[in-house]
Assembly symmetry: C3
Homo-oligomer: 131 residues x 3
């Protein structure tokens, strides 16, 4: 298992970890298989989305804030329930396929750590399995 470390810079943001995932796959020596990614945090998540226009990440943040705002019925004293919900909406366990030692992604696709309660130090666990 490898670790990708991300120092997030603000409350919410999407951090492209595609290059780090690529490096982890290379280091594993696996040519054909699956690269498993796991986010061990409950106010962050993992998602695939567009890697070209940064406005897409901006809009993803605006959209998720509108979908999961602060609500008066929430009880959690840390006041970060909107972030916990976004974390479950994005997901903690994601994988990608590996061919010829490289991740296979769509042309416009990147892998993102989604921060919802930053800034913090975050970790993504990576395990590459041949198959």
């Amino acid at each position: 298992m490898e670790r990708i470390e991300v120092a997030t810079k603000s409350r919410q943001g999407f951090y492209d970890i595609t290059a780090e995932v690529r490096t982890a796959i290379t280091r594993s020596g696996v040519q054909e298989g699956i690269c498993f990614l796991f986010c061990p945090h409950t106010t962050a998540g993992l998602t695939f989305n567009e890697n070209w226009d940064p406005n897409v990440r901006h809009d993803l943040g605006v959209g998720l804030d509108a979908i999961s705002p602060q609500r008066t019925a929430y009880r959690h004293a840390e006041m970060n329930s909107p972030a916990h919900i976004k974390s479950s909406l994005m997901g903690a366990s994601q994988f990608l396929l590996v061919e010829k030692g490289r991740p296979v992604l769509g042309s416009w696709q990147g892998v993102y750590l989604a921060e919802f309660d930053g800034p913090r130090r975050r970790t993504v666990w990576v395990k590459v399995v041949a198959g």
Copy 2:
């Protein structure tokens, strides 16, 4: 493949199955690998979230009810379309990494069966693969 059975107690709730997942991994004898979890229901799902403050699960329920309420344009006669949508939002297929015969999770992370149309008897399928 193993099965984890959960008897849910109300319309909506989050049931911690982390201990059952741990037991399934131990029983598999796998030391290093992946534990695959699959929810075969379309009005329930699987998610990872905080295992400490139960208010987080309360707020997750309140938040999902607000995100996916009953809507007048829905046609499904069973009236449980909000639950079908929540099921797709949480996800049916989730995995976790296994090291030294144990699941590796974040400090505050538990594995939850999310019930959205209970009470019912629910099953989670578990398959542990070495790798």
Copy 3:
């Protein structure tokens, strides 16, 4: 890796690819293992949901439109940010378990390509691994 091709017919819709997944598993010759599905698009996704009453897919579309509408604060010039968000909400990486050479799904469960910015030609990548 196999490819499932789907020609979507309208802006939004859910396309049942369960039969194609079944065929890919048969062709792989794998009897026990995991079938990994990956959607290489950032305005489409993969989800499991009810395969019986088509009204459930209708309602899933209505619900996701309400959850992720167009918003004035969006900046992405292609005007399809609602679709990008739905893509992340559904997910790009999903798997299902394989037993006796067949996918194991719940009685009412199908595998769907979720189109959010069609009509287009879409592809789903499939990899079946024994384990």
